[in-house]
Amino acid sequence: MSFNWPEIPFTGEEVEEFVDEYKIVAEELYYNYPYDSVDLLTPYVNKSALKKYLEYGLIYAAFIVKQRAGNFGPGTNFDLNNSPYSPTDAMDTPEKRKKIMENLGCVFDNGQMIVSWQDNKENDPSLDPYEELSPQDKPWIGPVSDLLDAFTNPGDDCGGFYAKYDNLNNNPPVDADGPLWSVILNLGEKILGFLGGASGYLSVQLLRRYLEGTGGVFTENSYWGLASKSGVKAEIKSHINFWKKNTFVVQPLESGLTASATWRTYYGLSESDVVFQVRFANNFTLASCFGTATVVLSGDPVFGDFEVKRLIDDYDFFYGWEVVRSYIGTDFEGTPINDLSITSGSNRKSTGNKTGPCEPNTTVCTAIGREGIHWAIRYPVAGSFGPGCYDKWEDHPNAQNSGKPFSININFANI
C-alpha cells in the first residue's frame, strides 16, 4: 500500500528538497522503522491513520518551508489565487458539497453557520452515511459513559473507579474484584469485537481466563468464546506478511533443522519449519492477545507463501503476575507453568525486573504505570491483584482471585 502523495502547489529549491526528504522519511517510518505503537499518544497508534496524516500533512509542512524561504512563486504572502484547494477532493461531488451544507445547518448567517458546523460534526456523526451512535444501537455506550469519569480520572490511589462503580450500583463497597472486572470484560467483549474481530474477541477471552485464575495451557481445543480460530490465524499471517522483512518485528529464532531435540519433539517441528519471535506491538488486538510470541511457520515468509502452524506464549503481565522460566528441560513458553514460577510483575519490583526484589509499597496506579492513557485496559489485571508485591503467587492473601498466568500453545496446523 504505497503513499498517495498530493500535488505540492508551492515551488522553489527549498520546498523541493524538503518535499523529497519528507517522502523518504515518511516511507522509512511507515515501512521500515520499528517502534512500539503503545508508546504513542492514542491518535497516532493506528498505522493507516498515521499514513493519512503523513500524506495530507505534507502540503502544510511544505507551505511553512515556502514561507520561510520567502522566494518568488505561489505559496508566499497569502495570495488566495495560490490556494492549494480550488476545488478539493472534499468538495468535488454534489454529495460532498451537500455534506458541507448539512454540517453548516443552512442558516445563511456566517456566525451561526460556523457554530452549526462545529456542533453538527461533534454531535451527529450520522450526518456521515454511517450508523448513528446511540444507546439503543450500541448498548455499551451508556455504561461506559457512566464510568468515564473514573476511567479518565482514576486518582492517586486508583480508588476512583471502585467508588464510581459502587455509586452506580447503589451497593456497599465490594470486597472481591470479580464483579468489577466482569463488568469491564462484558463491555470489552462488545467493544473489542467491534474493533478487532476475531483477535478482539480472543483478547477478552484470554483476559477472562487470566482473571478467573484457570491456569494451565490455552490450546486450540480450549474455549475461545466468540473468537474465530481461522480468523485469528489469518490475522497473524497478515501481520507477519506486512512485517516479514523487519527483523525487529519478525525475528528468526530457529529452524526445524537447528532446533533442539526437545523443541522439535514438543512443537512437532518438521525440517522445513521455521520459528520466529513475532512482536505484535503495532497491532492493537493481536498485541492484547499475545504481546510478543513465538510462532512456527511452514516456511520463511520472505521467500514465499507460508502457513501459520503454531503459536507459543506465556500470558502474563508486568503490572500483574509474571512467569519466570528456567529454560531447563521443557520449562519454556507454551509448556505448563509451575505455580512456584509465578511472581509479581516487573512494575512491582524495585529494580523494574521480574526477578528483582519486591517493592511492597506498590500501588495499583504505580503498577499500571500510565498517566491516564491506556489506563482502563490495564485496570482489571492490576486491580484484581491489588496493591503490594509477592515473590510467589501462593503468597498473595487472595491468590485465586488475583489473576493467574497461563501458557498458550495453539496448534493452527489443522485450522
Binding site: 462545529q118 500510565r370 492513557i373
Partner: protein, 256 residues
C-alpha cells in the same frame, strides 16, 4: 472509504477548528453563498509555540464518549472504520502534529526558522518523528526535539504591565531587543508578587510559553485572561522562546 468530515479536516478546512482561544489564536473564516458555495479559510497550528502532539479534541456529544473510551484503552480506529466516529478536530490536530514532527525531524536547527534539510539518516529522522509523538512519560527528553525545542533564547525585564480585554501589554526596560523580522517569538512570564503573578505563564500548561505580538522596541502583547488591570510596576523576568510563527504560518485557503 474515508469519511467526508475527515476529508474536510485533512484538507485543512476547519472554520476556526484550529482556533485556540486560550492562546489568542483565531482563524479568519468566511463563507460565501451565491450562485456557488465558497469558503475562505485559514489553517494554522493550534499551538504555534510547542511541539507536543495533540490528543483527542472532541468537546461534546457521543463523540466525546467514544474518544474517552478509545483513550482509555489506547486504541485509535482507521479513518474508514464505520464503528467509531472520532472528532474531525482530533483528526486535523493529529495531522498538524505529524506535520510538526516531520518539520523538526527533517530540517536542521530542530526545525526552527530553517529551510535546510538536515544531515542524518532517514532512520534517525523517523526516530525523531516517533519520539515527538510519544506520550509524556515515554519521550526521550535527551533527544530531538525535546532536548532543545523548549530552550530559552534570552531573558528580558518587564518593568510595567497592564491588562485590557484579556490582552496583556508589557513594557520592558531596557528594550526587549526582539527582531520584528520574525513573528515566532513567545514568552514565559515570571513576575514576582501580588497581582503581577496573575500575568504569569505556567510551563506545565504552555511548555514553550505563549506567543507574543511585538508593538515597539519596548512593548509587546500577549493573550492573558483576567480582570482589566491598570498599568502596574512589576519586577521579574520574561523568558523568551521561539515557536512556529504568527501570521506567517497562516495558510490561506479558498474552496469553491
Amino acid at each position: 472509504m474515508i469519511k467526508t468530515t475527515y476529508l474536510h479536516a485533512l484538507n485543512y478546512l476547519n472554520l476556526s477548528v484550529e482556533e485556540n482561544t486560550s492562546l489568542g489564536i483565531g482563524a479568519g473564516s468566511t463563507i460565501s453563498i451565491g450562485s456557488s458555495l465558497s469558503f475562505f479559510d485559514i489553517f494554522k497550528f493550534r499551538d504555534p509555540m510547542d511541539i507536543a502532539p495533540t490528543g483527542f479534541l472532541s468537546q461534546s456529544g457521543f463523540t466525546t464518549i467514544t474518544e474517552a473510551l478509545l483513550n482509555g484503552i489506547g486504541y485509535f480506529p482507521s479513518l474508514d472504520d464505520e464503528n467509531f466516529h472520532v472528532s474531525p478536530n482530533t483528526v486535523q490536530g493529529a495531522m498538524a502534529s505529524v506535520a510538526k514532527a516531520m518539520l523538526v525531524a527533517i530540517l536542521d536547527d530542530n526545525g526552527k526558522r530553517s529551510t535546510t534539510v538536515g544531515i542524518g539518516s532517514s532512520r534517525g529522522k523517523a526516530e525523531t518523528v516517533i519520539n515527538t509523538l510519544k506520550f509524556d512519560s515515554k519521550r526521550n527528553y535527551n533527544a530531538a526535539p525535546y532536548n532543545t525545542w523548549r530552550n530559552s533564547v534570552g531573558i528580558i525585564t518587564p518593568t510595567s504591565i497592564s491588562r485590557s480585554n484579556n490582552v496583556a501589554i508589557v513594557t520592558t526596560t531596557p528594550a526587549h531587543g526582539l527582531s520584528t523580522a520574525f513573528d515566532d517569538w513567545g514568552i514565559v512570564m515570571k513576575l514576582n508578587t501580588g497581582i503581577a503573578t496573575s500575568f504569569n505563564i505556567s510551563t506545565s500548561i504552555y511548555p514553550n510559553g505563549v506567543p507574543i505580538k511585538i508593538i515597539n522596541a519596548n512593548t509587546f502583547a500577549y493573550k492573558n485572561i483576567g480582570i482589566n488591570t491598570l498599568t502596574t510596576s512589576v519586577t521579574g523576568t520574561a523568558d523568551v522562546r521561539v515557536g512556529w510563527g504568527g501570521t506567517s504560518i497562516n495558510l490561506h485557503l479558498y474552496y469553491t
